[in-house]
Subunit: 202 residues, 2 copies
């Protein structure tokens, strides 16, 4: 299946500005992207990165300077078969989770994100278009319903977890062992039991 | 399978104090508990509520005034077969998610919670004991490893989501239609698209 991984080169993870410098955020975002691409590749796909600017990667890169929604919709409009859109900050993604995403043969498959997002979508309906603004899972359900498209939602903690905030780093450290987790450990991050799971840096 | 649902009657959901009055928190906690018990019952189980004080419910109640960890471990010590412990605030639980929890036949099955918790556990090993203090998923993995117990972790967004904070209410409103979601809607709560998914009350 054709898989698109959108990636914003210009402002990686400003929501992590309290704990990471700009260059660290860039390195961490790259590490997360690598984890997602690794999971997709292990699951048997050949992902393409849909990037806002040229970047050097071991995977094919398609550059589109536009915002996320129009850039993805341009890919959907020219797709000649099933296509998946998987967010670049799903650092917890595994090949098993990706296989659960692509297994249902409905017109549309959603992996909802925590906080109303849509972290991954499989599109087998030629008219479906995305709208990532706002509470996108609600909007995407409506768009699919308007098309009378059949829909499955995949119940995955790993795919629901986009790494956005400093607290999210605990999820990476507790549940993954990939490039991003290694990067965090190499840069002094750890999870301390402190009432809950508190991320600390040494 | 024997299923235990621990429920703390005394201090329900103080973390929601900014948006719900004490009596509303109690009603919402009961509604969430009902959703969990409904999901377990639909999945074919006969859950028992392990409550800190007597409560009136349509399901059997076992009262144990002790804290969560010793109360659950007392049930594990007297179990004569497989036993599951499912948290009462997994408002998003469905029968399908519960079936994924009980399907693996390993000694232990974990459903990790966001933030380092362990939201559900299936125990088929006579010596396994819980420790919910701190980063419990990390501790539980170690306890299982020390016993050489076989372990599966279930990748479920629904089981990973315990409803703790005001922001979590968006998850209930966006992804469920049960007793708790109905209670929230009846009490004026809705999700507004406002950058993200913002919970508002009218």
């Amino acid at each position: 299946m054709r898989v698109i991984v959108p990636f914003d080169v210009s402002t990686p993870k400003t929501s992590l500005a309290d704990v990471l410098t700009p260059s660290e955020r860039e390195a961490f975002a790259r590490a997360s992207l690598t984890d997602v691409l690794d999971a997709l590749t292990t699951a048997g796909h050949e992902p393409t990165v849909l990037s806002t600017a040229p970047i050097d990667l071991d995977w094919p890169v398609h550059v589109d300077e536009r915002a996320l929604t129009p850039a993805v919709n341009a890919r959907l409009a020219t797709a000649d078969g099933p296509i998946a859109i998987v967010m670049a900050d799903l650092t917890l993604a595994t090949a098993a989770a990706i296989k659960r995403l692509t297994a249902p043969d409905t017109d549309i498959v959603f992996a909802p994100g925590r906080g109303g997002g849509t972290n991954a979508i499989v599109v087998r309906h030629p008219e479906f278009r995305v709208d990532y603004h706002g509470v996108s899972i609600r909007d995407h359900r409506e768009i699919a319903a308007d098309l009378n498209a059949s829909v499955t939602e995949v119940d995955s903690y790993r795919l629901s977890t986009d790494i956005d905030t400093p607290a999210d780093l605990a999820e990476v450290l507790l549940h993954t062992d990939g490039t991003a987790a290694t990067w965090l450990r190499d840069h002094g991050f750890a999870v301390r039991a402190d009432g809950g799971a508190t991320v600390v840096r040494s």
